[in-house]
């Protein structure tokens, strides 16, 4: 088996199954185990934190590729991004169904009034176009440049998700700050990378003379 085949046939399915594990854990415990004294809170917190984790993992791939030179990492971008959307959808649906009994007016009131919901809702809504345009067909239709530009929305999603987490906790901001640091490093890596590229291009460029 070639490396490409190995990745496609073994690693990818393994990553897929591993990414489903948190969902499996929730479903298993809901029916056969125990989600604790406040199951709704457990579901909300678990789906929320896994959304953020998958956002961070997705954002980590490009810098990692840059650092390690291991290009097949790019093959996992869509899958991990879609898992971020999957857990984000579960997180939102838990809130929509169990906190607001499917009444959108209540959700909207929160979005307008409560900064942590504004941030969380923004993070979620911005993932929708990314999930919808995640296919090869959409990349073709939009063209690589425009598609790339659109998918930079994930940066805003990441920032909004971290803010959402930070504003939600009552007292102990250790974990939100830890994720904020991760996101800062991953976005910072992109700025740095771009600056280097720009520098590399700018230096050999000939001095332009006005005629």
């Amino acid at each position: 088996m070639s490396q490409a085949q190995f990745i496609r046939r073994v690693i990818k399915p393994a990553v897929f199954l591993a990414s489903l594990a948190p969902f499996g854990w929730l479903v298993y415990n809901a029916f056969f185990g125990d989600l604790g004294v406040n199951p709704v809170e457990t579901i909300t917190n678990q789906t929320g934190i896994w959304t953020l984790r998958f956002i961070v993992l997705t954002l980590a791939l490009t810098p990692l590729r840059f650092v390690t030179g291991f290009n097949p990492l790019a093959l996992f971008r869509r899958m991990l991004g879609l898992f971020a959307f999957f857990y984000g959808s579960l997180h939102f649906m838990t809130y929509f169904i169990l906190d607001h009994s499917l009444e959108f007016s209540g959700v909207w009131e929160d979005v307008v009034k409560r900064p942590y919901i504004t941030a969380g809702f923004t993070a979620f809504v911005l993932m929708i176009p990314l999930a919808l345009t995640s296919t090869q067909g959409w990349i073709r239709r939009l063209g690589g440049k425009r598609w790339n530009l659109l998918h930079r929305l994930v940066y805003i999603t990441a920032l909004a998700a971290v803010l959402h987490y930070f504003w939600k906790v009552k007292l102990d901001t250790t974990n939100p700050l830890y994720y904020a640091a991760l996101v800062a490093v991953l976005l910072g890596a992109r700025v740095w990378q771009r600056a280097r590229k720009a520098g590399a291009v700018a230096r050999p460029a000939p001095v332009r003379r006005e005629a």
Binding site: N29, A30, F31, F32, G33, D34, L35, G36, V37, N38, P39, V40, E41, L98, D99, H100, S101, D110, K113, R114, P115, Y116, W167, K168, K170, L171, D172
Partner: protein, 323 residues
């Protein structure tokens, strides 16, 4: 001669005592949880009724309890709900931490110091305090400021009876309660999560209200450590954080005490902390709550459903300002 022989292992490699004690406690809890799950005691999420865990067989039972007419007839939360899910930052910030880590608290012997503007200050032994008043069971709603709630069968006596015993003077306008500080017994206090000790207070008329009580037990048993053993405050029309636990000091004060959460974040938590669906927490709504054991949220009632009894205490006050 070499006197200063260096030890075999470095200081930094030694596991601190508090860690391995905690680890043992954790393993014990984990072990018993595993047994509970294996025997099906921890009911599945969708089983409908959450059967109460067996109460603690080792706990001292409290006999001859008076049933209080002030009790609600709502469905009780299980013993497990009440004793494994609560905030008691002295043992950690997670709501499961108090049950896991409160084994180090020694609620006996225990003294409560009474001081300030009263005729009979002094240090009183908990064993004596237990004999002062007939114990009664009171089933109250408990509404946490985090928008969840429970129904809990407390055992205790009216705070008013306790207060009267010390004959507060006319200068006593407030009662201040203080929790124990002892990092050995309360490992969470090694972290500066809150400015220790935890302090709470009531206006005198609030303290004298018949609904306010001091609890020494729940579910017919002596108060478990994680719920504030051996003695704690219960004020059912206020958010749960007013219910200061493991009280070692009661003070009759002229000035309004600065309670811990107000000191932490005055814009989010006030002195009165009356349950009020019309005044939101700056970050979340207080209009509804999740009753533990229910899936959908229910509406929060003014003064947690005790408005008929207590609203008059606050007539003329702007409850938006005095939240």
């Amino acid at each position: 001669m070499l006197i200063n022989k260096s030890p075999d292992i470095r200081e930094s490699e030694v596991t601190p005592e508090s860690w391995y004690v905690r680890r043992r406690e954790f393993l014990q809890v984990a072990g018993s949880t595993a047994v509970a799950v294996a025997t099906g005691a921890a009911g599945p999420l969708f089983s409908g009724t959450d059967t109460a865990f067996a109460q603690n067989p080792a706990a001292q039972k409290l006999a001859n309890l008076k049933k209080s007419p002030l009790s609600t007839d709502e469905k009780l939360n299980s013993y497990r709900d009440v004793t494994t899910y609560n905030n008691f930052y002295e043992f950690g910030l997670d709501k499961g931490d108090p049950a896991k880590y409160s084994g180090s608290l020694k609620p006996s012997p225990w003294n409560v110091v009474v001081e300030g503007q009263c005729a009979k200050p002094g240090s009183y032994n908990m064993e004596d305090i237990m004999k002062w008043f007939p114990l009664e069971e009171r089933i109250y709603r408990m509404r946490c400021v985090e928008a969840w709630s429970m129904v809990i069968p407390w055992v205790g006596f009216p705070l008013a009876d306790f207060v009267k015993r010390f004959e507060p003077t006319s200068k006593a306008k407030f009662v201040k309660f203080t929790t124990l500080v002892d990092t050995k017994q309360m490992p969470g206090q090694t972290e500066p999560a809150l400015p220790w000790p935890y302090v709470e207070g009531l206006r005198m008329d609030e303290a004298m209200h018949p609904l306010a009580m001091l609890a020494v037990g729940l579910y017919g048993e002596v108060l478990p450590n994680q719920n504030g053993a051996p003695i704690r405050l219960v004020v059912p029309w206020k958010y749960g954080f007013k219910g200061v636990k493991s009280i070692v000091r009661v003070s009759f004060d002229e000035a309004q005490p600065m309670n811990t959460w107000q000191r932490m974040r005055a814009d989010e938590y006030g002195f009165f902390a009356n349950v009020n669906p019309a005044v939101d927490h700056p970050r979340w709504s207080q209009a509804s709550e999740r009753r533990i054991g229910e899936f959908f949220k229910r509406k929060t009632l003014p003064f947690n459903g005790y408005a008929d009894q207590v609203a008059s205490l606050y007539s003329g006050m702007d409850l938006r300002k005095f939240y």
